[in-house]
Homo-oligomer: 288 residues x 2
């Protein structure tokens, strides 16, 4: 086991995110034993059966014992509580890292808990699918995707280097940025679009000037556009609560542009409307 | 030719919409001769080669001569001008109908032009794909889709019945409603989502607190969500100009819900956030 990057890896929350990391590292020969931990026994049994983990324990203190790296893949609001629970069993030199989609609030809650000889590296792989659970995990989920790490002045340099290496082996391009920038970037490209989609569906679904629900008239385009409004309400409540400032800033940025467009429409400014739509098309086409 | 519904059909604008109607009616044996008319000769040649039309003329007066039904599938702002141009060559009893995505402004412009013995039936098939041109046309485009007809007090009942029959033969479910309701429904399920997507891309693309374009971080979800922001700026300028009132009403409806959500986030009202997201998910899931 001397050559593997991570002799023992503990995955807390063996779903799409945690399970796929395990499979990618196993495929690359970069881990020794992978121990899974979670609340649902059927999911853990499934993970074992599919080879996503080598063994599992429902006791977090048992699962992290002797682990070199502990990957937290539980909901964002549970990360600090889970960390607090695990810490007594962590060996000296252990590295805890996470995949939470909000970083400022998570670091603020976890940093004060950390002892001197266990290290926390905040991270966020930008990858996912609609599916969840150990069964949804696959080894190439992270291939060609970005993984953002948000080290602070408290972050141990060796621990950071190991986590960076881990994600590179999983196939990701690792980008480092500040907690604040991460939360603004994610607010813009993920959290704001969800708020917009949720608002759009509520606005159209609540329009009651006619005796029928006008959502019934929606065709494929509307349904595709609002797909993300079917996302898990609990998860998005947690994100909206924990990335409050980043999200509010982006929502105001959106409102500014939406108001500008409304003015152009009210004034019938054909030229300004064309420019607004063209600028958007050019920005959109550039990221294709 | 005595048994066919439409002995001679003229299609003005032989693209996805006009061409697919022709193919559907041909497949059903419901048309005699189909004459195409448009500005681009290569597209008309292609339409002829693919059997989308039986012949074509680049002269609108020639194309509509002896036509029983004339289907207008040109951009929404051109419909009244095209009608004015065609009318002198229409035979008594001819029916003009259209596929424009805004109905109030179109009817207001065309109704005053109509002589007593030529009939106008405003319509809008709710179907489409990303593609355009005669090559994109296919006979099943309208199958299982809704087609909205918006007769007014000026609409001839026999002409309306024939156009209704035509769309049913093409596979559509025909729904009749007022011009105003059509424009509100379309504002809600199509025009508003486009305005939201255009504003979102401009808002995120213009955020300049960091030295790089944060759109670069967008992953598949953002790209899917903003696909419609790549739509044709000219077409959407025309829609925003011609459905001004319906669109402004829906934009205000959206703003109301977006502002409510912003307040819930600012106040950290977890319960209200959960309810907002859950209501949206339920509305969205109900139209799947």
């Amino acid at each position: 086991m001397a050559d593997v990057l991570i002799p023992r890896l503990a995955i807390i929350g063996v779903g799409l995110i945690g399970g796929s990391l395990s499979l990618a590292l196993k495929e690359a020969g970069a881990v020794g034993e992978v121990v899974g931990c979670g609340r649902g026994k059927p999911n853990l049994e499934k993970a074992l059966e599919l080879g996503v983990v080598d063994r599992y324990s429902r006791d977090p203190l048992d699962a992290v014992k002797d682990a070199d790296v502990i990957f937290l893949a539980t909901p964002v609001k549970t990360l600090a509580t889970v960390t607090e629970e695990l810490l007594p069993a962590c060996k000296p030199g252990a590295i805890i890292t996470d995949g939470g989609s909000v970083k400022g609030a998570v670091s603020a809650a976890i940093d004060p808990l950390m002892p001197d000889n266990v290290y926390f590296v905040p991270g966020h792989p930008i990858a996912g699918t609609e599916k969840s659970g150990a069964e949804a995990a696959f080894p190439t989920l992270y291939r060609g995707k970005r993984c953002i790490l948000t080290p602070t002045e408290n972050t141990n340099a060796d621990a950071l280097a190991l986590v960076e290496k881990m994600w590179q082996i999983a196939g990701s391009e690792v980008v480092k940025m500040s907690l604040e920038k991460h939360d603004r970037v994610l607010a813009a490209i993920s959290h704001l679009p969800h708020m917009v989609a949720y608002s759009l569906v509520n606005a159209v679904g609540s329009y009651d000037h006619y005796e029928e629900n006008i959502l019934e008239y929606s065709a494929g385009g509307f349904r595709d556009f609002t797909r993300i409004a079917s996302s898990d309400p609990t998860m998005w409540r947690d994100i909206a609560e924990t990335n409050r400032d980043g999200l509010l800033e982006m929502m105001e940025q959106f409102e500014k542009f939406f108001a500008e467009l409304k003015t152009d429409i009210a004034e019938g400014s054909g030229e300004k409307l064309f420019e607004f739509f063209l600028r958007s098309k050019q920005l959109r086409d550039a990221i294709l």
